[in-house]
């Protein structure tokens, strides 16, 4: 594009503004809500001017919800911890299993490798509920229901295909000659995997891990069905704010802000790597 007319520039500006407003406004509104009490939130007409209060955050962090009639115990902080633990462990397990598998799918063309890789991807096609109902029965019978191990296992349905398919592409992008050169220099298969393939696919592995973390963190349905109160992540725990005496919008908003904060920060920090990692080949000659 050599010359951009003024009209075009103005139109583009408007379009970008509209898009940003559309996507960012809900987040901004929730952010504002989290500093208000239910009364100011529910007043008509709504206003962006109010006296900010930290009462919602205090309630969440202390775990005591002071209602108009009674005090309610909530486990928000332990939910947050559960989210963190489940996501980190799931991604770790997913990387430990997925990265070597991705390498095998990329480099060793064995019989049926394409079919197996596709089957793993197809886990993402099925509606989660379809898998969950029979799984719940199995898990109850073998004692995995309501355990961290069981949850992490099920989380692999989300995490593993993602890691496998993203990282596989990265391994395929490494010119085979570079690995051959290392082998011919006298290093074995595993040394080549560790010192050539892994570092060169590093950005891709990081991007896949990050994405998997966000997906695991945002998961709702698996934990809803398979976990009881003390194993619940924040996504499920937020339901507790809908109480018999009313919906605590302020606390919900504060809970959302706290629970998206880690993934938001992570995504912001790693944005460059994510975009580079997901769009670009790893290495060229």
């Amino acid at each position: 594009m050599q010359s951009v007319s003024t009209l075009e520039r103005v139109l583009r500006g408007i379009a970008i503004t509209v898009i940003i407003l559309f996507f960012m406004f809900p987040i901004l509104w929730i952010f504002l809500m989290s500093f208000q009490t239910n009364e100011t939130i529910l007043r008509v007409p709504p206003s962006i001017f109010f006296e900010p209060t930290l009462v919602n955050y205090k309630a969440l962090i202390s775990g005591r919800l002071e209602g108009s009639t009674a005090t309610l115990e909530i486990a928000f902080m332990s939910n947050l911890y559960n989210s963190l633990f489940l996501s980190v462990t799931s991604v770790t397990v997913g990387l430990l299993l997925g990265v070597p598998a991705a390498y095998a799918f990329a480099r060793l063309k064995f019989r049926g490798s394409e079919d197996i890789a596709f089957t793993l991807l197809s886990f993402r096609f099925a509606p989660p509920l379809l898998v969950l109902l029979p799984l719940t029965i199995y898990f109850q019978q073998i004692g995995l229901a309501d355990t961290y191990v069981g949850l992490i296992w099920v989380y692999q349905l989300i995490v593993l295909p993602l890691i496998l398919w993203i990282v596989r592409g990265y391994f395929e992008d490494i010119p085979a000659d570079i690995e051959y050169a290392y082998r011919i220099a006298g290093h074995g298969f595993w040394a080549t995997f560790r010192r050539i393939a892994l570092p060169l696919a590093g950005p891709g592995i990081a991007a896949a891990g990050l994405l998997a973390f966000i997906f695991a963190w945002n998961n709702f349905i698996f934990a809803l069905v398979l976990a009881s109160a003390d194993k619940q992540p924040v996504t499920v725990g937020a339901l507790a704010f809908i109480t018999a005496s009313g919906i605590n919008y302020g606390q919900i908003a504060a809970g959302i802000i706290l629970s998206i904060a880690p993934t938001f920060a992570l995504a912001l920090y790693a944005q460059r790597y994510l975009v580079e990692g997901l769009s670009l080949g790893a290495v060229k000659g």
Binding site: D177, Y182, A185, G186, L200, G285
Partner: protein
């Protein structure tokens, strides 16, 4: 260590890349694999290196069958056409990689890297990552890495392909000495006939996955096995003239522009056959009009080519002939002229198959007796 290939075949899917290739390189010798791209040269090198396995046949290194031996256990050095440097390691670590694999001590590694870097004049860039190196430096780093492990078999996959002309010229002078110092058995792949002639103790011409000819550079140049090889070796390219050899009591001859060109008596068995006569441009000489075998031509163009001057000539029947002479020697730039054809190094090919018609040594008379 000697290197031998026995009847190697390799297909990818339905595409037969190598078909029954057998080669033998004696210890310490250099074999040049010469052929156009897609001929199967690189695949053959990879089979020797052990990164791919042949469908049939086997590779022997030092008389030992290396089927199933992993690449890291073959004691081979290889330089890749695209360099294949490790992008996340600096030049020093790249060159050191065969030495670390041999579990050498720190000082031994340092000494090995430094001496190679000095030899290849890349000492000043040892701390650079591959992407900070120029193509020439990359190529030298790749070469140093291939040599570092003191391999007994060295595979060089067109290492001068991706470097600029000046460096290619320099390396053409340096490489033969470097290779002979290594005392390794070398397989050198190239598409450049000059490199092939300069480096090879022997040249194997490969095309379409089949070895077409194996011989010393002189053999390949002087008696190419077919028209295609004759065309590939030599610059300016060899002249081809359709002829039908004849014979009278003075010997075997062919007629070119109604002038008699005597052929070697060894070509007697080709008499009456439709042939293609291959004449190197160096054998086409400008002569004065009164020369007994002078063929009249029209000089169309003159082109300097390195140390030679090349003239494109047309015969009376419109056939094109290239004549080449050392620059500075007198010759017509344009216009009518006369040439004579020295057929002593001429080669005859069968017109249909393009295959060389070998001389019948027993029929060949001593040169002096050819009238």
């Amino acid at each position: 260590m000697s290197l031998e290939l026995h009847d190697i075949s390799k297909s990818f899917k339905d595409d037969k890349v190598l078909d029954g290739v057998s080669l033998s390189v004696p210890e310490g010798k250099t074999l040049v694999l010469f052929g156009p791209s897609g001929a199967g040269k690189t695949v053959l090198l990879r089979l020797i290196a052990g990164v791919i396995e042949p469908d049939a046949g086997h590779v022997e290194i030092a008389g030992r069958n290396v089927d199933g031996v992993e690449p890291e256990d073959r004691n081979i050095g290889m330089a890749f056409q695209n360099f294949a440097l490790f992008p996340h390691m600096d030049a020093h670590a790249n060159i050191a990689s065969p030495l670390t694999a041999q579990k050498q001590g720190k000082s031994a590694i340092e000494a090995g890297v430094q001496s190679l870097a000095r030899l290849l004049k890349i000492e000043h860039v040892l701390g650079h990552k591959p992407k900070e190196l120029s193509n020439g430096q990359k190529q030298r780093t790749a070469l140093a890495r291939a040599l570092a492990g003191k391999p007994k078999v060295l595979l060089l996959d067109d290492p001068l392909r991706n470097v600029d002309a000046k460096l290619r010229f320099e390396m053409r002078l340096e490489l033969p000495r470097l290779l002979s110092d290594q005392n390794a058995t070398v397989v050198y792949v190239t598409q450049d006939y000059k490199e092939a002639m300069a480096f090879g103790d022997e040249i194997a011409v490969i095309n379409g996955g089949v070895i077409q000819q194996i011989g010393t550079p002189e053999q390949i140049y002087l008696s190419p096995a077919n028209v295609e090889i004759a065309r590939l070796f030599g610059d300016p390219v060899i002249n081809f003239l359709d002829v039908t050899p004849q014979e009278d009591r003075d010997g075997v001859f062919a007629m070119i522009s109604d002038k008699r060109v005597n052929l070697d008596a060894g070509h007697k068995h080709a008499v009456g056959q439709d042939c293609v006569l291959g004449i190197r441009p160096e054998s086409v000489l400008f002569v004065a009009e009164d020369h007994i075998r002078a063929v009249p031509v029209t000089v169309e163009a003159e082109t300097p080519l390195n140390e030679k001057t090349v003239n494109l000539c047309l015969t009376a029947r419109g056939r094109e002939i290239m004549a080449s002479r050392p620059s500075g020697t007198p010759g017509p730039a344009t216009g009518p002229a006369f040439v004579t054809i020295d057929a002593s190094h001429a080669v005859l090919f069968d017109k249909q198959s393009g295959a060389l018609i070998p001389q019948d040594e027993s029929a060949a008379l001593p040169k002096g007796e050819v009238a």
